[in-house]
C-alpha cells in the first residue's frame, strides 16, 4: 500500500493545487518548442519534484512514467570503480550525483556526454532533446559544476537539464546565468489545510477541520511532512477529533527531552546524560545539523528573551563547525555546554562568558 504522499501526488500540471501562475508558466514552456535549462529551487516539501514530473509529462506524454532503474559502473581517473544508480525512462534520466561524493565530476562528464551525443532515437517522441534531471544540485562539487557549464552550452540541441536544489547559494554563477530560475515557494498553511481536506475526503476519513489546521501549522509549511503526519494521526486513531494529539517523530520527541534537561539543570553530570541521548540520535542516522537546528528551536520557548540572540549566535557558530569539522559530537556537546553557561550566567545576573 502506497503512502498518501505517493498515492495522491498530482501527475499532471492541471491537477497541481497551488501556485497556479507557476503551473501556467511551466505549461507554456513545455508547449513552446524552446525549452530552456531549468534550475528549480525551493524549500523541501514545497513540491519541486512533483512539478518536474508533471512538466516532463506535459513534454513527452505518459511514456515518461514508465521508469526503470539501472546501475552503471564508472571508472575514476585513479581507477576506482563507482557504482551509480540511474532512474530513466525512454525520454529522460534522473540522477543524484551527490551519491558518489567527490567523484561526481566523473559521473557528470561521462554520463551527460554519452546522453548528449546520442540523438533521440524514438521517432514518435515529441521533443528532439532528452531531459536530464539532476537532484540535489546544490551538493555538487565546484568541479562538477564547472564541468556542467561547458556541457550545457555545447550539447544544448540534444540535452536539456533540470537542476533541483534547495537554494541557489551553492550554485556557481555561470550555471545560474545559463538556467531559467524557477522558485517554488512552500505552500501556505491555508493551502496545506485545503490539500489535507481534499485528500481526507478521497480516503473517506472523518472530516475534522481544526485538526487539519493544527497539522498544517505544525508541519512548518512542508506539505510532505503534513501528509505524513495526517496519515499517522489517522492510522493511530480510528475516531479523530479536534483534540487528538499529533504524534511528533520519535527523534523530535527525544530532542525535546534534551532541551528540557538542559534548562532544568546545568551541571557537568547533566552534560554526560545529554551526551548519551545525542549519541542515541546520531546512531539512528539523524544528521547532526538537523539535531542542532531542532534543539535550538526547541530551546527557544524555554529560555529568557535576552538570551535568545546569543543562543542563535552560538548555534549558527557550532553548525558551521559541524560542517567544517570531522567529529560532530564535539560540537554538539560544546553547544550544550555553551547554552548551559549562558543560562547560568543569566541567572546569576553576570556575564561569565569570557571568550566572546
Amino acid at each position: 500500500m502506497a503512502l498518501l504522499v505517493d498515492k495522491h501526488r498530482p501527475r499532471t500540471l492541471d491537477t497541481l493545487s497551488y501556485h497556479p501562475d507557476l503551473s501556467e508558466r511551466l505549461r507554456s514552456l513545455a508547449a513552446s518548442g524552446d525549452f530552456p535549462h531549468l534550475l528549480i529551487y525551493g524549500p523541501s516539501g514545497a513540491g519541486k519534484k512533483t512539478r518536474i514530473t508533471a512538466t516532463l509529462r506535459a513534454l513527452y506524454g505518459p511514456g515518461v512514467e514508465k521508469i526503470k532503474i539501472d546501475s552503471r559502473i564508472f571508472q575514476t581517473t585513479s581507477n576506482r570503480k563507482l557504482e551509480f544508480n540511474i532512474v530513466s525512462s525512454n525520454y529522460h534520466l534522473e540522477i543524484t550525483p551527490s551519491d558518489v561524493g567527490n567523484y561526481d565530476r566523473v559521473v557528470i562528464q561521462d554520463l551527460l556526454k554519452e546522453v548528449a551525443q546520442t540523438q533521440q532515437v524514438d521517432l514518435a517522441a515529441k521533443q528532439r532533446f532528452k531531459v536530464v534531471v539532476i537532484n540535489e544540485a546544490d551538493h555538487l562539487t565546484r568541479d562538477a559544476q564547472a564541468a556542467l557549464r561547458r556541457t550545457m552550452e555545447k550539447y544544448s540541441p540534444n540535452l536539456r537539464l533540470i537542476l533541483l536544489a534547495n537554494s541557489t547559494s551553492n550554485i556557481i554563477a555561470p550555471i545560474r546565468s545559463r538556467c531559467l530560475l524557477v522558485r517554488v515557494a512552500a505552500p501556505t498553511e491555508v493551502e496545506i489545510a485545503g490539500v489535507l481536506a481534499k485528500i481526507g475526503k478521497k480516503e473517506g476519513y472523518k472530516n475534522c477541520e481544526p485538526l487539519e489546521q493544527r497539522i498544517a501549522k505544525d508541519s512548518g509549511r512542508n506539505l510532505r511532512r503534513a501528509l505524513l503526519m495526517f496519515e499517522a494521526v489517522h492510522a493511530q486513531n480510528d475516531n479523530v477529533s479536534e483534540k487528538t494529539p499529533i504524534p511528533p517523530p520519535d527523534w523530535e520527541a527525544l530532542i525535546d527531552v534534551i532541551a528540557k534537561e538542559i534548562v532544568e539543570e546545568r551541571t557537568p553530570a547533566r552534560i554526560l546524560q545529554v551526551r548519551a541521548k545525542l549519541y542515541d540520535l546520531l546512531t539512528h542516522c539523524i544528521p547532526a545539523t538537523a539535531v542542532l537546528k531542532t534543539l535550538t528551536f526547541k530551546l527557544m520557548p524555554r529560555i529568557d528573551d535576552s538570551l535568545k540572540a546569543d543562543v542563535v549566535k552560538w548555534s549558527a557558530f557550532y553548525e558551521h563547525r559541524i560542517r567544517m569539522g570531522s567529529k560532530v559530537i564535539f560540537h554538539l556537546e560544546a553547544f550544550v555546554a555553551k547554552v548551559m553557561r549562558l543560562y547560568e550566567g543569566n541567572l546569576l545576573g553576570m556575564d561569565i562568558d569570557f571568550d566572546d
Binding site: D34, Y41, R183, A186, L292, A309, V312, A316, E319
Partner: protein, 406 residues
C-alpha cells in the same frame, strides 16, 4: 482526439519527407540559439565601450603585427567577443577554422592538453587562402597575416604546471603563432606568462552602452519592454552584459512562450496535415503577435531571483529596535517566511547589505562597521554550506542587536 492524430500525422510526414525536415532544422536551431551567441559583435567596431583596447587592436589590423595578448576583466565585459571579432576580421570565414584554436579551460585543462593539443597546433604549418583571383579577392577583404592565434579562454583556471608548460611553447613558435590568454583575475596568471604578453584591461560596461545594446537586441527580437526594464536588467546583472542578455531572453521566452502555446493550439484546431513549411510561417507569426505582451520589471526580478522590496522591508522593520524581548519573535517569524518562500540566502544577504549598509542613513558609522563584520561571517558560512535558516536568523538577530545598541 483530434490533436493526437494531428501529431501522429505530422510525425509521419516528417519521417517520409526526411529531406525537407533537414532543411528546416538549421533554421530552427538559429531560432533557438542563445541571444548571447546570436548578438556577439561581428567586428571590432561593434564591441561596446572598450575604446582603448579596440583602438590598439584596430591598428594591428593594418600593420599585420600582433603581440601575445592577455585580456583580463570582470565577466561579461566582452573579452571573448573582442578576440573572436578580431579573428574574424583578420582571417575571414574560410581561414578562421584552420588558423584559430579556441580552448576553453573549464573542461579541458591540465598539462597534457597544453603539451599535445596546443603544441601540435602551434607548430602546424600555416594554411593559405585559395590561389588565383578568388584568393586575391579574399586577401583584399581580410589581411590574413602570417600567424595563427591560440585563444586560451578562462586561463586563470589552468593549473600552474600547465601555465609553465606554455612558456617555452609561446617563445619557440612565436614566428607563426600568437597566444591570447583570457582571464578574470590577472593575479592567477603566473608572472613569466604575464610578462610575455601585452595586457589589456577590460573595464565594466557603463550603463549607457550596455543599455543601448539591450535596447537594440530587444528591438531586433520584437520584444516589448516596459518602462524601467532596462534599468532593472542593468542593476540585476551588475555590469555583466552576458547575464543581462540571458535574463532578457528568459523573460522574453516567458512572455513569448504563452503566445507560442496559443499559436500551437490554433494550429491543432485545424484538423489538417501540415508540413514543416507551414510550421515555420507560424513561428514567424509568433513574435509579431506577442507584441501585445511586454516584459515587466517584476518578471525580470523573478528570473534574476531578486527579492521584492516589500519582503525586505518587512524584514528590516522586524529588526528595528523596540521594547526588549519582542525582537526575537518578530525576526524569527520574518526569517521563517523568507525561508519558506524559497528565497536564496545569498540573495537575502546581498539585499539586506545594500539596504542597511549602503542606503540607510540613519545607521551610524560605528554601527555600520559592526554590522559589516556580521555580514562577512555570514557570507563565509553560507559558502561553506551551512544551514541557511539558522545562518540568516543569526545574521538578523545580530544586526538587530547592533541596531538596538544605544
Amino acid at each position: 482526439m483530434a490533436n493526437f492524430f494531428d501529431i501522429r500525422a505530422r510525425q509521419a510526414a516528417a519521417a517520409t519527407q526526411a529531406s525537407s525536415s533537414k532543411q528546416s532544422a538549421p533554421a530552427q536551431d538559429n531560432r533557438l540559439q542563445p541571444w548571447v551567441e546570436k548578438y556577439r559583435p561581428k567586428s571590432l567596431d561593434d564591441v561596446a565601450a572598450q575604446d582603448h583596447t579596440v583602438t590598439i587592436l584596430r591598428r594591428t589590423l593594418q600593420s599585420a603585427n600582433l603581440p601575445h595578448m592577455l585580456f583580463y576583466g570582470p565577466p561579461g565585459t566582452g573579452k571573448t567577443s573582442t578576440v573572436l571579432a578580431l579573428a574574424k576580421q583578420l582571417y575571414g570565414p574560410d581561414l578562421i577554422k584552420t588558423r584559430v584554436l579556441e580552448l576553453n579551460a573549464s573542461d579541458e585543462r591540465g598539462i597534457s592538453i597544453v603539451r599535445e593539443k596546443v603544441k601540435d597546433f602551434a607548430r602546424m604549418q600555416l594554411s593559405n587562402p585559395p590561389a588565383g583571383p578568388a584568393g586575391e579577392e579574399y586577401r583584399r577583404k581580410y589581411p590574413c597575416p602570417p600567424y595563427k592565434i591560440v585563444i586560451l579562454d578562462e586561463a586563470d583556471s589552468m593549473t600552474q604546471d600547465a601555465q609553465s608548460a606554455l612558456r617555452r611553447t609561446m617563445e619557440t613558435y612565436s614566428k607563426i603563432t600568437r597566444f591570447c590568454l583570457i582571464c578574470n583575475y590577472v593575479t592567477r596568471i603566473i608572472d613569466p606568462l604575464a610578462s610575455r604578453c601585452s595586457k589589456f584591461r577590460f573595464k565594466s560596461l557603463d550603463e549607457a552602452n550596455a543599455g543601448k545594446r539591450l535596447e537594440d537586441i530587444a528591438r531586433l527580437e520584437n520584444v516589448k519592454l516596459e518602462e524601467g526594464v532596462v534599468d532593472t536588467l542593468l542593476k540585476c546583472s551588475e555590469g555583466d552584459l552576458r547575464k543581462a542578455i540571458t535574463f532578457l531572453q528568459s523573460a522574453a521566452r516567458l512572455v513569448g512562450a504563452v503566445q507560442a502555446s496559443g499559436a500551437s493550439e490554433k494550429k491543432r484546431k485545424r484538423a489538417k496535415i501540415e508540413d514543416d513549411e507551414d510550421e515555420d510561417t507560424m513561428d514567424i507569426d509568433g513574435p509579431s503577435d506577442s507584441a501585445s505582451k511586454s516584459v515587466t520589471v517584476r518578471s525580470i526580478e523573478e528570473i534574476a531571483g531578486v527579492i521584492p522590496e516589500g519582503t525586505i522591508d518587512s524584514l528590516t522593520t522586524a529588526m528595528q529596535p523596540s521594547k526588549a524581548g519582542t525582537v526575537y519573535g518578530r525576526v524569527s517569524k520574518a526569517v521563517e517566511n523568507l525561508v519558506a518562500e524559497g528565497w536564496s540566502a545569498t540573495q537575502v544577504v546581498t539585499q539586506l547589505y545594500d539596504r542597511i549598509v549602503l542606503s540607510d542613513e540613519t545607521v551610524g558609522d560605528w554601527k555600520k562597521s559592526k554590522v559589516v563584520l556580521c555580514f562577512s561571517e555570514t557570507d563565509k558560512r553560507l559558502v561553506d554550506g551551512c544551514d541557511e535558516h539558522l545562518t540568516i536568523l543569526d545574521l538578523c538577530m545580530q544586526v538587530a542587536g547592533v541596531l538596538g545598541e544605544t
